[in-house]
Subunit: 422 residues, 2 copies
């Protein structure tokens, strides 16, 4: 790889999610040469991906060019690359665009969908872990309605107009809410010759409550919000199989062409790294995010599991944890010459929130838990502030204001045809 | 196709470009049942496609959902469909989603790239006639710079950093200007470790002037604008071949991985319609846009050629002609019961314009021809007004204002990897 050799130690960061981005921003250019690698040339604001899938905001507003984030940063190099492996004896990683030596290696490769070995689900379900997957899902949802118009078989029409979301975490709940808003406000106008009341939205959840990462109060409130919107929530329900047409569970069968899988993720560690992994493929690290058994290899964000936390389960796989770990490791590395003993990472929980639709959100703060319209405005404001850049904020704000006052969504476009999977 | 039978005569319109859209809008719902067919579920504002290709505005801002345009229109049906053929004896068209009877059939299928039989060009060149092609071009342009970073072969780097545009019509000229702005304002900041002065932009034009559809004054002025921006314009130059690496012409060879073909279009008539076609595949129609030999089949927009105009060459293939023909035919059909004799179409030339970059545009009005900053603001204002909808205008305006004041462009995203063609 064409990266100049300079006097400073080289930090190679793999992955430009919340963890890698924050680390690269924090590292001091006078102390390190920083090389950031990612398979995409953009950072994705994952918490708003469901809005892309449901035609709420344009894809270009929730992703941001990496090179633009680091404009003007000295001793910084970005490369689009796929990681193929590592040899720590010669301190080198291998990629599709050549190999690269490192002094420090940081693995921030995030998480991917976990199908728990269910091959049929992997084959037929849709997911929402990348921008392209979200765009595909947008196309699929809209294509379904076009196809529902063209069939005279009621069973077939039901399959096109039913959406089954597995997993009542934030992603599942927020997507279900957005689909319900499409159903209630948009689709009847777009498809006057289709009976939109036939559209069904189901959430299937294995545990006994929705948003189980939040407070009981938030769970109860959001269950009510979901049901108010006409969404059917199936608790204590476990998906057994899916053939692209029918979902089988321990309770019921569901006819649907569109199963959306948001029931689990697992770490995405790099190939041939000799490290201990958790059952869900996360790299086990110490409380400084150092990979056990290495001295200069770290893992941060979703791919890392600090074993001493949560009885060996590590922190929740959240953007806020990832960002804090990136920043913390950056500070530790900046201080290493003066202070070789790194400080342990402590997560500062600033609260959790989820939105279920217009005027319906739940917020858990350390000192206060509430839901409803104010929570929804808080959610909107915070997510706007978190978007990387002023320009994106402007576009998203324009979209949201427009949606709010017009009860309309802008972007119902089938950009790419997505083939049916059965 | 599931379209209800009602008392009113059925008008089937194929294609939702400027002509089809305007016609469908104009037709009176009390007099006709209107069925609009298109392969996409959106209308594309083609004049701004070059801005998508050059990372200036988001793709979702220049396309607009068809169903949203016709929200609330009575007796109107939209279907996504690919046309496969026609049988006028039984007044029926055949599509991938079934067949459909018509009383009136309107062909508004537009134009596609014309490679004049040069298969290598068709195979290796990039085009910009659809939204997907524009998005691919955006990805290709950005990928080229990522790849230029990774090669140590100067010849190879030149190929990645050279862009050859064939055809100095509005599309070619506007894209070249946008690329020059990327080169001058954006890329040096994005790629500090690459010598962006090596980037070359060439326009190859077979005739002796650029923008030959406009006045001599506009041609002279825009040639100067292009050269001011560092673009090399090769007049009287004819492309002979391209192998994906080298363009050969009657004058010179050009090393480039990216040849952009904007040198010609041809009509895209429907299969097995028995009609006389021009040399560039347009359907020959009378001055009421009626296809010669038929009484209730019409062709409008780029695909139609009114033989009595321009010595048999028909009107220029422009959005403004298409829109006016759609509106005119709509009025004729609305009046047909009272007034069976249709009025002939007369094109009202309200002027032509092109923009070459920031503060550089040329405007030809019937009574005035001018260029420069004011022309550029006129161009911006008119294109904003022409965008179908308030929401899109807002987003585009936000983007343009941002670009103008920050000298930056927002959307440098490689959304899909586009494979190299050699």
């Amino acid at each position: 790889m064409n990266i100049p050799h300079i006097e400073l130690p080289r930090v190679v960061i793999i992955g430009c999610g919340f963890a890698g981005l924050k680390l690269a921003k924090t590292l001091d250019s006078k102390k390190y040469q920083v090389v950031l690698l990612d398979k995409n040339n953009y950072h994705t604001f994952q918490p708003l991906m469901y809005q892309v899938a449901s035609s709420g905001i344009e894809p270009d507003s929730i992703v941001y060019p990496v090179r633009k984030v680091f404009k003007g940063k000295k001793n910084f190099y970005f490369r689009m690359a796929l990681i193929q492996g590592i040899n720590n004896e010669i301190k080198e990683i291998f990629t599709n665009i050549g190999s690269l030596k490192y002094d420090y290696l940081i693995i921030a490769t995030g998480a991917i969908s976990n199908f728990f070995g269910m091959n049929n689900i992997e084959k037929y379900a849709f997911t929402m872990k990348t921008l392209l997957e979200s765009l595909d899902l947008r196309s699929v949802i809209l294509q379904n309605f076009e196809k529902a118009l063209n069939t005279s078989d009621p069973k077939e029409r039901e399959r096109y107009m039913s959406f089954v979301i597995v997993g009542a975490g934030p992603t599942g709940v927020e997507l279900a809410g957005a689909l319900a808003e499409l159903k209630n406000n948009i689709l009847p106008k777009d498809y006057p010759d289709l009976d939109i009341t036939l559209m069904q939205i189901h959430i299937i959840e294995a545990t006994d409550r929705v948003l189980s990462n939040m407070s009981k109060k938030a769970s109860t409130k959001s269950l009510k919000f979901l049901e108010d919107l006409g969404i059917k929530v199936w608790l204590n329900t476990v998906v057994r199989d899916y053939d692209g047409k029918t979902v089988t569970t321990n309770i019921n069968d569901f006819n649907t062409k569109t199963l959306i899988w948001s029931a689990g993720v697992k770490g995405a560690p790099i190939e041939n790294l000799k490290a201990r992994l958790t059952r869900d493929n996360r790299i086990i690290v110490d409380d400084q995010n150092k990979v056990i058994g290495y001295s200069k290899i770290f893992a941060i964000g979703d791919v890392a599991c600090i074993e001493s936390e949560q009885n060996g389960k590590g922190h929740a796989m959240l953007a806020s944890v990832a960002g804090q770990q990136g920043k913390h490791l950056g500070k530790n590395l900046n201080a290493i010459i003066k202070n070789p003993k790194m400080k342990p990472f402590h997560y500062k929980d600033r609260g959790t929130m989820a939105t279920i639709g217009r005027n319906r959100a739940v917020v858990d703060l350390p000192f206060l838990k509430f839901g409803g319209t104010i929570a929804w405005f808080v959610w909107m404001f915070l997510h706007l502030m978190l978007l990387v850049d002023f320009r994106n904020r402007l576009i998203v704000f324009a979209n949201w204001s427009w949606s709010y006052f017009s009860y309309d969504k802008g972007i119902r476009l089938i950009i790419r045809e997505v083939k049916e999977r059965t």
